[in-house]
Symmetry: C2
Subunit: 420 residues, 2 copies
């Protein structure tokens, strides 16, 4: 609620606009003052004052450089400073753990990833995982790059308010207070100070990442699907990230599409991911018993096996072609339902659906023509742009949210911390 | 974008707050100034000034009356005036047409409904329908009650920007520019002046109505299902009405739930509404060939037949019980998917699902326990509160939107029109 109180109205508007300008630069990297004025609808003297304030906070830099190398008289460009404040982005995937230090503008300054290896295959001990994250974060964090927030992407169902992981079947977790644990056992220990820790589901962060810096940029209504062992999903509706009442929204992998289908790990039957996920592809291709199949001991992700099947299908192998076609058919059936529900401008396909986009697309288009009730000619199907980086990029975006919303307050708190 | 421009900042904030106060009164009917201050977080002197402005616009009335009959010293209450400006709400249903005059506060001041009768059963001529709406509106409109907008609810797939009806299978319509036609052939002719005309799908307006004045009040994340011949759906996500990129969102009836199911009118197979809609219930109860079955000539809606089956099920009739149980099972299967996708705080069941809520609920709860992956204990299932009034209530809300957003501008335009 914007209050009318003499003296504070102008201040509230100014702080709102400071956030708007910083966000533009965070997304675009560098813009001239006149581009900033055009994009924000603010007048030039206001832009000047706001840029000066952001400069004094060490968040942007100004210079007579045309950073994009075009000809003509260089205009004064305002660039985001990616080296002054950073976020810590953590990804807890099925087969690996990654930690990255990400600067403003989404620049990944440093990244470490470790594979979980065979010993983790039967489930993952929470303490071991926290130890790994602690070790990676210790390697990456430097005293001269203050951290303003931490974001965690996890392959589980997460309560957004406090980062409580309700269940993460592929990690063997139930009821893990991950947000709290990362705050106390990683952030506080490694950094020596507290910063906000946000946790979200990997695919939810995938759509955030693709919307911010990937294939969904500029689209206000987006459905993002990521094909892995399960089907992850994330939704942007009317420009906003859909999280649901408790933050559990986007669990599209368990939409029932085939009541006579296979039993799913969730207790249901014929869930979308049992029909169109990685295991379905391997089963249909007759590869379920190969040593690198996802259920086989010592291996949890079948990305390599999946890609071999996709390559074989491209080469005309009939069994592989059949398997890819069936997965595309089920993918299309579920996707028709989501298009009818959301009427998205763009559908972004990630994970194995992104890697196999060329072989899936013809069947998908055909099924959607039959099944999507709403005039779907306007819905674009595109492959994801960020590939495996999406969860980390999304986690960093999430961690930057407080700074982007209240740049002056967050930076003031940082200064106070430094001077103590 | 809120701009910083000297002289205009304060004005923009004041107009925003004027809208906030009017909306509170529109939703609550009457509030004391201190309740208004508490709900809007505005200070009392601001509230006083805003209420005086709304009073001068004839939109509210102030008095020392405790409108709610509680004891003690009466405080000055501010009440919405429902008799000064009105909207025209139109409902184009499968078997009837209704027009209502609705005042601020959602008060239905007058309503006329006509059944379509047997001659309309094979489809509905657009011209005839416009003629009926014209006649009803002419009866209802009075020169001393100026109309500020018109809203139309229609059982079809509607492009929200201009009220173009892409397809309305149960009316036999394709590609009808309904918004334009109602504007030129009803509003302009009956009123003699132009007002904005908004058109939306009946179930989309159902969720708007239930969210504003019904069973979904106060919930930020809502899934609304209305069981009729089809399954209508409307979504509120994070407090906002979900419309999709083109306004076609919420077409949940055509989510595929049973690939081996019956052929659907949309061209698909085993859509949710073929398994859990009115026709499924009648078919399962063995009533599909009765003269009042929905496909029989001379009848398009099977509400009477549905209610007989539900009553029989309540009385222990085994065939009726089986039919209701099967519909509940398929309803639950689809609903599990929607709960996984949206993580709603509340699911509101309307149409036949609302009328049969007591007999459907036990099966639904059981299926959701099995199938809803996300911790669904927090998702409430409730019957709709507004019953058949929901589409008209929603259409009126839609028509009030411009007035609620910019009370002074809309009322100024009205004054100018009157003085011409």
């Amino acid at each position: 609620m914007v209050r009318i109180e003499h003296g504070s109205t102008h201040e509230a508007v100014r702080r709102h606009n400071l956030s708007v300008v910083l966000r533009q630069l965070h997304l675009q990297g560098a813009l001239s003052r006149s581009e900033l004025a055009a994009r924000t609808e603010l007048n030039r003297s206001t832009i000047k004052a706001l840029v000066e304030q952001l400069d004094s906070l060490d968040l942007v830099v100004e210079g007579d450089l045309d950073l994009r190398g075009t000809r003509g008289r260089p205009s004064t460009m305002v660039g985001i400073r990616s080296d002054q404040v950073v976020t810590l982005a953590v990804e807890i995937a099925v087969d690996s753990i990654a930690v990255a230090v990400v600067g403003l503008g989404g620049h990944v300054l440093d990244i470490r990833r470790v594979d979980r290896g065979t010993d983790g295959a039967a489930g993952t001990d929470v303490d071991d995982m926290l130890g790994t994250i602690h070790a990676l974060a210790t390697e990456l964090c430097q005293p001269d790059r203050p951290v303003v927030g931490a974001g965690v992407a996890v392959v589980g169902i997460v309560r957004r308010a406090d980062g409580f992981v309700h269940v993460a079947p592929n990690l063997g977790w139930t009821a893990v207070p991950l947000g709290e644990l990362v705050a106390s056992r990683v952030v506080q220990e490694v950094l020596g100070y507290d910063v906000p820790v946000s946790v979200a589901n990997e695919a939810d962060l995938g759509v955030l990442a693709e919307h911010t810096r990937g294939a969904a940029q500029g689209a206000a209504d987006v459905v993002y699907l990521s094909g892995e062992v399960g089907i992850g999903g994330g939704i942007i509706a009317d420009g906003r990230w859909l999280t649901g009442a408790r933050g559990y929204a986007g669990e599209i992998g368990h939409m029932p599409v085939n009541p006579d289908g296979l039993r799913c790990g969730c207790g249901g039957r014929g869930c979308w991911e049992t029909e169109a996920g990685e295991r379905a592809l391997l089963r249909l291709a007759g590869d379920a018993n190969r040593p690198d199949a996802p259920d086989a001991p010592g291996r949890r992700s079948g990305a390599g096996a999946v890609d071999e099947i996709v390559t074989a299908a491209r080469g005309g192998d009939p069994q592989a072609g059949y398997a890819v076609g069936e997965v595309a058919r089920w993918l299309g059936i579920g996707l028709a339902g989501l298009i009818n529900v959301f009427d998205p401008e763009r559908v972004v396909l990630g994970g194995m659906y992104g890697r196999a986009f060329d072989v899936l697309e013809p069947t998908l288009v055909e099924i959607l023509k039959d099944r999507a009730l709403t005039p779907s000619s306007g819905t674009e199907l595109v492959p994801a742009a960020l590939a495996t980086a999406a969860p980390l990029v999304g986690a960093a975006e999430l961690a930057f949210t407080p700074l982007l919303e209240q740049p002056d307050r967050v930076m003031d708190a940082l200064m106070n911390r430094r001077s103590q």
